[in-house]
Subunit: 195 residues, 2 copies
Amino acid sequence: MSLDDPEPTREKILEATYEALCKHGYGDLTIQDIADEFEKSKSLLYYHYDSKDRLLVDFLDSTLEEFITDFHLTEETPREQLERLLDRLFPNNLDEENYPLQIALLELRAQAHHSELYQKQFTEMDRLFKETLVDIIEEGIRTGQFRDVDAELEAELLVSMISGMRTRRLTCQDFQVEESRRAIEEHIDRRLRSE
Amino acid sequence: MSLDDPEPTREKILEATYEALCKHGYGDLTIQDIADEFEKSKSLLYYHYDSKDRLLVDFLDSTLEEFITDFHLTEETPREQLERLLDRLFPNNLDEENYPLQIALLELRAQAHHSELYQKQFTEMDRLFKETLVDIIEEGIRTGQFRDVDAELEAELLVSMISGMRTRRLTCQDFQVEESRRAIEEHIDRRLRSE
């Protein structure tokens, strides 16, 4: 790699994938669409990935890495960390970047039964998401901010609830985002906050 | 319609659609696949539906009608009615009929952002699902079996939770169906059952 171009090729390919997904969606996406967003040669792209599916699985993997990097536990209180997680996964507004990405993730998820690679990836996503929630809840219990609940059970319910809200927002007309957000905040406070 | 064939054409077409969806999934489905499952002429099929999308939207509509017919409120207690709803939407086992249908519904949902027709249909599905839950919860409050909760809020949370569980079951490996079911039962009892 030259000094003028310190960014690794994988990152550039994944950026191109992101751009192509936002433009074309998953359904119509071809590897040529990705190549069109990639400034280097198509053969370099094929050198790294032998199929569109492998590339998309690596793309999913990179969104997961980003999520983990962002969600190292911080100095915030456990309740604030839950807030940040919700802001991230269920923001009040989906901007022009975030909306097509969430649509693409939903379309990819709906394909998971066709492909063991995708299935593994979504299993790992949900596992990590749940683990993050368990860590936050257990920290809250340890510090006395949260009641002594079953952290596994609460995390399991939250993963499904947030996943469901994300999907419904993308697929229903006039979905009441703020109302749903308020409902989940109330659920969290009722279930977790110590009196 | 002859006396030998009292079943309306629409029903036969929708049955053929169901068979074709189970065999081919949504992604690869052509109107020819549906015609292949239909004992009458392809032109009769086109006479009733001018596109694959309109046919699939009517198919979604028919699953909704079936749901409503099944879920008239009965003599059961509100808690038993919730139980029946869960058995229906999140059964412990997905048999050979139910699994491909749920996959097809997920694939169709993931396409909703492309098509206002689909979006309307899924909006209506979720609205009716929520309304059914609100009715059951309000009946429980009225009869004193449930606490005096905010029925709208509880129903909103349950719709998202059950939707999320349904999707995760279809898209994750080794998803713990019975554990999730237990978690949602506990959630219902904790939140709703009067002491």
